[in-house]
């Protein structure tokens, strides 16, 4: 009788698994997945913006369907160069943005699909410079692959305890020297209190942009972080890093815990409720700052004016089409244009900058500084068509001191753009 029960149980389990497989549609299925697909190898910190933009694009006429696999920046670059779309099993495979108008980009589970063998990526997203310095194991960029630089993403050191909750870790600042010691020498040898125990230090594999970019700023290359010797503490997905940090909120180990995140992930309400970012003091800097003007805001003021140097550009790579700066897939080009702020007609209309701002990214038109290499020196810059006022007003709980400019009353100085008097 017991054997029979075991056999029945196994049979039911196999049947369930088969059904689950059957329920995962082929990505090429126009009806179950969607038409006009763009296959994206996406840095996993970019998933929130892909969800938000993907929903808007499904509502377009004609619709565009984003199909993505979240992976590390350098892996994404390599896959694109090799012309192979790879589903990241560690991240759950390949996902698509559904056409359901009720799809909640911030909370809903994203459905998955199975890509065809031989599928090629249309677009790869990296959050670091796609060069040999950042991605030393990637092959050289083929002449048939173009790169377009996009918005800015910042990175944070994060500890348990929600913003403003006074729970969890009491740490407020980490200096570049402290980060160098903890991540480069390891927590035990570094002797930087309270981060003394390597069991509570969480990073990423060396191909991940978050670790590459922070590493460039603290002068510890991603592959040389001490946790590279400890696979359990190099976590594949950003969301899992956030969960690993938050898991120590109330277990008595909050003070010891330290991890790294992209700000797109950190800024999610669910994460800010359980974690807080540390202010960072760079080498040769006198004081420490958060990415935002205060820990509770979302204005990225210190990223935009250069007080917070843990940031890099999102980079879009693609097989080129008619020109070296145009993607072969026209829908992929449209996605790039929307994300970098190029003029695009949207039907129904929406403001792409709103999506970028809401996702925790900073459009280049809102930046007052620039840089040309990972962790490199910052230079002052004024965008050709600034959008800093609009950006400040659009971020969550945002406000701006810029003058509003309805069409009937021109600006006393500067230029009226998107309803605000920008500096030019």
């Amino acid at each position: 009788m017991q054997r029979l029960l075991v056999r029945v149980t196994v049979a039911l389990a196999l049947l369930g698994a088969a059904r689950a497989r059957a329920q995962t549609p082929a990505c090429e299925d126009d009806d179950q997945v969607g038409p006009n697909r763009v296959y994206i190898q996406a840095a996993d910190t970019q998933v929130p913006i892909l969800k938000a933009l993907g929903k808007a694009l499904r509502a377009q006429k004609p619709p565009i369907t984003i199909v993505y696999s979240p992976n590390g920046s350098c892996s994404n670059i390599t896959y694109l160069y090799n012309g192979t779309f790879i589903a990241n099993a560690n991240a759950g495979g390949t996902f698509f943005i559904p056409g359901n108008p009720d799809f909640d980009p911030k909370g809903a589970t994203v459905p998955s699909c199975t890509p065809a063998a031989g599928q090629k990526p249309d677009l790869a997203i990296s959050i670091v410079f796609p060069d040999a310095s950042d991605c030393p194991t990637a092959p050289a960029r083929p002449s048939t692959v173009g790169v377009t630089q996009g918005p800015v993403q910042a990175f944070v050191f994060a500890v348990p305890g929600g913003v403003g909750t006074n729970q969890g870790s009491h740490a407020a600042t980490i200096t570049a020297e402290e980060a160098y010691l903890v991540m480069g020498l390891g927590a035990t040898a570094a002797m930087v209190a309270p981060w003394l125990d390597p069991a509570f230090i969480f990073g990423r594999p060396a191909t991940k942009g978050t670790q590459i970019s922070i590493g460039a700023n603290i002068e510890v290359p991603a592959a040389r972080w001490k946790l590279m010797a400890d696979p359990q503490h190099q976590i594949d997905q950003s969301s899992a890093v956030a969960a690993a940090i938050a898991a120590h909120l109330s277990d008595g180990n909050a003070e010891k815990t330290l991890g790294i995140l992209g700000v797109e992930i950190y800024d999610l309400a669910a994460n800010r409720a359980l974690l807080h970012a540390l202010a960072f003091r760079a080498f040769r800097q006198l004081r420490s700052y958060w990415p935002d003007s205060t820990p509770t805001r979302f204005d990225k003021q210190n990223v935009r004016d250069g007080h917070y140097p843990l940031w890099s550009y999102v980079q879009y790579l693609y097989p080129t089409g008619a020109s070296p700066t145009t993607a072969a897939n026209a829908n992929a080009q449209k996605i790039i244009d929307l994300l970098v702020g190029n003029a695009v007609t949207t039907t129904p209309p929406f403001e792409p900058l709103d999506l970028v701002a809401a996702a925790g990214l900073v459009p280049v038109c809102a930046m007052g500084v620039s840089r040309s290499a990972e962790g490199g020196a910052q230079s002052l810059t004024t965008p050709a068509e600034p959008c800093g006022c609009y950006y400040e007003a659009q971020v969550p709980n945002g406000s701006t001191r810029c003058a509003a400019c309805p069409a009937s009353s021109p600006c006393a100085s500067g230029t009226c753009r998107r309803g605000y008097c920008e500096v030019r």
Partner: protein, 96 residues
Amino acid sequence: MTMKTTTKILRALAVAALLTCAAACDDDGDGDRGKDLAAGPGDVAGSPDLAVACVANPDGGEDILNACTTAQTGDPGKDHPYFPAKAAGGVLPALP
């Protein structure tokens, strides 16, 4: 002029000299007078932490990091010249 008055004047001159330097000197000693150092927004003129100044007219690099700002700053206990024990004076040990 009493001794007490002289001491007061000398103290005032010392504070004025410090403030003048904070407002006009370059913190890296390279003689670049194009950058103006000022007491930070949170500082009271003449307060003892004049070493933690800010750059009023940044033109690049480190000046940008240390430009004057109204933004909230982090743990003051980790302001310059704080360094962790293994990086005394900001000198880092080699990576293993």
